[in-house]
Every structure is written in C-alpha cells, then in structure tokens.
C-alpha cells in the first residue's frame, strides 16, 4: 500500500514570497490533515478535511495560509506571503476515519530567509 506522498521535500524562499505544498493521501482515506511542526515542538494542526469539506481550521492563519482539497483526494497548502516564522516542517497525514490513527507523509521542510 502506497503511503502519504508530499512534495516538494524541501523549499527555500525569501520572506514575502509565496509557496505551495502538495499532498496525496493514502487511497481511500477520507480524512486529511495538514500540520505545522516548528523545530523542537510537536506538530500543530492547521486544517482537517473530511472528503472535500473543512472540519477544523481554527489554527490556520487565514490571512496568509490557505488550503484546498477540491476533489476530496489530494490537497494543496499555500502560504502567501511567507514570513520568517513560517519556517517549519509541514506534515500531511491521512486516516480512514477521523477517529482512527493517522498516517503521515515525509513532510516538506520550509526555510524562509
């Protein structure tokens, strides 16, 4: 069974630039999550999708972050414009049901200079 795929693996941008991350969850998984993990901290949930609907985006900085999952399968997370404090690993995870264990992708390491 293929795991959660993410791209790119690494990205370096300058502040005020835009960046987008892509995630393809495990086939058949209805629930998709985006997390932000700052160095030395645990992952923080940014947004949770159930199929193509948003379940929880309470911790998503909506002035600069946006995410979509238009067809209920893969998803993109965008930051526009990026700030220095956005430097982190962005993790995508999926689960078959919202209360089941999550399977994580390898993450995208973002460095904002």
């Amino acid at each position: 069974e293929a795991g959660v795929a993410q791209s790119p693996r690494y990205k370096i941008i300058e502040k005020r630039q835009s960046v987008a991350f892509w995630c393809n969850p495990i086939s058949g998984h209805a629930t998709l999550y985006w997390y932000q993990q700052i160095l030395g901290q645990g992952p923080k949930l940014l947004i949770q999708f159930q199929n193509n609907g948003v379940v929880d985006d309470s911790q998503l900085p909506k002035d600069r972050f946006s995410a979509e999952r238009l067809k209920g399968v893969d998803s993109t997370l965008k930051i526009q414009p990026a700030k220095l404090e956005d430097s982190a690993v962005y993790l995508c995870a999926s689960s078959s049901l919202s209360l089941n264990e999550q399977f994580f992708g390898p993450g995208t390491r973002l460095t904002v200079l």
Binding site: Q41, G42, P43, D56, F103
Partner: protein, 112 residues
C-alpha cells in the same frame, strides 16, 4: 499552554537498558497515539490506546494508558540503536469538537 506534557524531553541510554517515556494531560483523552519520528522525516505510527487501563506491545515496545485516560507511558525493553529518534504522543481531545494535539516529543539516543 501545552496540553500534552511529555517527559523527559531528552534521554540518553546505553544499549540494552530499559527506558520509559511519559505523556500526561489534564484532560480526559479519547484516544492516545504514540509515534516515532526521525529527524527531518514524517511520523511513524507505533500504537493507539483507547480504553482506560489498556496496554499494547509490539516487539520491545509497550504502551499503557491509565484508568483515567489522562496519562500514558511508553516503555522500551533492552534498547537498541535502532530505537533512537523522537517519540511523540498524540491525543484526541474534545471541547465540543474533537481535536488532535501532540506533545513536544522526547528525543532518545541509544549509545552502542
């Protein structure tokens, strides 16, 4: 404030030694998950505990959830260098809606 407290923050043990990592919450948890993460990589699911008093084992790793479902421990027996990494506890809590939270992690180093 951190809703899930992990201890210790870091641990260095000699190969072959046993160790325990703790995860504590002030709230009742509706699911407790243990993950392992290698630096710069994603999280690998280890175990999920849902019932008070539940205990699960996989190879040399045992996880327990207390009866009140507010504290969990992860115990590694006869540690090996392959156990090195960051161990994270995650949990499902609710304040009206279900929400996933994670601890800050325990960095484990095993000396050969």
């Amino acid at each position: 404030s951190q809703e899930l407290e992990q201890s210790p923050q870091s641990l260095i043990v000699q190969e072959g030694k046993n160790l325990t990592i703790n995860c504590t919450s002030s709230k009742t948890l509706y699911g407790l998950y243990w993950y392992k993460q290698k630096y710069g990589e994603g999280l690998i699911f280890l175990m999920m505990l849902q019932k008070g008093g539940e205990e699960k084992s996989h190879e040399k790793i045992t996880a327990k959830l207390d009866e009140k479902k507010q504290q969990s421990s992860l115990h590694i027996t006869a540690s090996q260098p392959s156990h090195a990494g960051i161990y994270l506890c995650g949990a499902l809590t609710t304040s009206g809606t279900y929400k996933y939270i994670f601890g800050t992690g325990t960095r484990l180093k095993v000396l050969a």
